[in-house]
Amino acid sequence: MTAPLASTLPPLERNLPRGRTLGWLAALAVALVGLPLVLPGYQVSIAAQILIFSVLAMSIDVLAGFAGRTPLCHGAIFGASTYVVIYWTTTLGGSLWAGALLGILAATALAALFALLAIRTSGVYFLLLTLALGMIVWGVCLRWTSVTGGENGLRGAGRPAFLADHVSFYYAVLAVVAPVTFAIWRFVHSPFGMTLRGIRDSESRMRALGYNVPLHLFLAFTISGAFAGVAGALYAVFNDFVSPSTVQLSQSVAGLLMAITGGIGTLLGAFVGAACIILLENVVSLFTARWPTVLGLAFILIMIFAPEGIVGRARLALARRR
């Protein structure tokens, strides 16, 4: 009934030979490591922000692109981790490392809870249910004033000294994001990931083949939540501040838009998508305050003309040429 967003994509193993993928990855790695050497300070912080949101977008892609379930609650899961980190490091005065670990655990637990409620649904119902679940998180953060600081949020205690300047923070983020990306990559290409794709393409067939579909979806959702939690913890260090706007619906929408812009089901498209959206926002706001219009138009145009996203498009083009 529901055609996944990425249904038009050929399987990606076929259109990119392994060697070339590795070449691209190496080039990307060099570019990412060299970035702070050529960019001024503020742009480096933007680059760090892009990396953080790439992880959020990848976590969404795990569900949307590989399990065929498009979620609208990952902003809330991401932000829950941010809240836990800031609360732990300021209100409770704990260490950042323990805080980050707790944040990721909290996000994972939250995702597991959401998964229990949501995996029975699919298509737009899944989208709407996860939207509602995210709204609950937002409502709790807004109203549980004694813990969350309500509307005003929580202010952090400042970044640790060794992460204070943009360049060292960027490398710290890169040092986290690179292995996380590798982990997600391995995850979706594992036999487990293959089964997920099977479920995406035909749930009934996988069920008939004896796969435990709900269990697979539950695990995929929970693991994707853990990755969103990693991004949220990084964001806590980046912003040193959290408020209900970090967990609100528009955060989930932004994450999903990044995943879609890059290309659902392409994983690494998340980097392209996050870069496009964040850079676009930065450039557009120099010229006009009409950012919502620009974002809305971007959404409309992508949906009409390039639903497979930038990376997806490029792959299709490559595949066709061969």
Partner: protein, 285 residues
């Protein structure tokens, strides 16, 4: 005891508004399979148009009609101009309407500047009426009545007219209707216009007692989503029951559990959806 009747009336009148808005949403969702996330934006835009028209003409009724007409046209334009490119792909449609919502809200901000507006109400509906021991705003009672009228009109339309029969058939099996030589596209378009007009009606009426401001769109949208999810796709009775449930939960929840205001609405909704994924009155397609 006066306070209890009061809360129940509050819940009922809010439910009536929710029903007006959500019935439009559920019609479009049911027949066209489009989760129109721009429905809230249509509500707000309609309300603002209604406000300006009512200011210009001095008439609440004309303002309301203008709101409905303008939003119905907008709905048709969106359906024909944009949504036609993504027919049949549910998720692309949902996300496309989200983009439309962004643009429409920003447009409203540019035109009306983001101040808070109140739809002017005719003198006859101003002030409070006395019901037994308590005073209650006349306008809210009017909204309650309007909600019932809209429900009755839609029920008759769907259950007693040929168009209604086509809509019902279209909800269940659009291919068969098409195969019977009926231009289902026109039915679809009419339904979209009707659904949008209901959002415009909601905006004009809601704008008179909930006011119109940036962000009103998202609020009403989230409430409408809750109504439709609880009630089930395309079900008029479901929208009615869902609206009553959400309206009453909202009124009573805010009094009894002010800390958990959102939980009181979305908690039950998440549970219903988890155990009845298609809502209370939803049917599989």
């Amino acid at each position: 005891m006066g306070i209890n009747l009061f809360q129940i009336l509050n819940g009922l009148t809010f439910a009536a508004l929710l029903f007006i808005v959500a019935s439009g949403f559920t019609l479009i969702f049911g027949l066209l399979r489009i989760v129109n996330l721009a429905h809230g934006a249509l509500y707000l835009f309609g309300g603002l148009v209604g406000y300006s028209a009512a200011q210009a003409t001095g008439s609440f009724v004309l303002g309301t009609l203008a709101a409905m007409a303008c939003v119905a046209l907008l709905g048709v334009a969106l359906d024909q101009g944009l949504l036609r490119f993504v027919r049949g792909v549910e998720l692309r449609q949902v996300l496309l309407t989200l983009g439309i919502a962004f643009v429409l809200n920003d447009l409203g901000l540019v035109i009306w500047g983001g101040d808070t507006y109140t739809m002017p109400v005719p003198d006859a509906l101003r002030g409070a009426a006395r019901i037994g021991p308590l005073f209650y705003p006349k306008f809210r009672l009017f909204v309650l009545g309007l909600g019932i009228v809209v429900f009755a009109a839609l029920w008759l339309l769907i259950n007693r007219t040929r168009l209604g029969a086509l809509i019902r058939a279209g909800v269940d099996d659009p291919e068969i209707v098409e195969a019977m030589g009926i231009n289902i596209r026109r039915v679809f378009l009419g339904t979209f216009a009707l659904g949008a007009a209901l959002a415009g009606l909601g905006g004009a009426v809601g704008g008179a007692f909930l006011t119109l401001y940036p962000g009103a769109d998202a609020e009403i949208l989230v409430f409408s989503l809750a109504v439709v999810i609880i009630g089930g796709r395309g079900s008029l009775v479901g929208a009615g029951v869902g609206a009553l449930l959400v309206g009453l939960l909202n009124a009573i929840g805010q009094v009894l559990f002010p800390e958990l205001a959102y939980f009181v609405i979305f908690g039950p909704m998440a549970l219903i959806l988890a155990f009845r994924p298609l809502g209370l009155f939803g049917r599989t397609a």
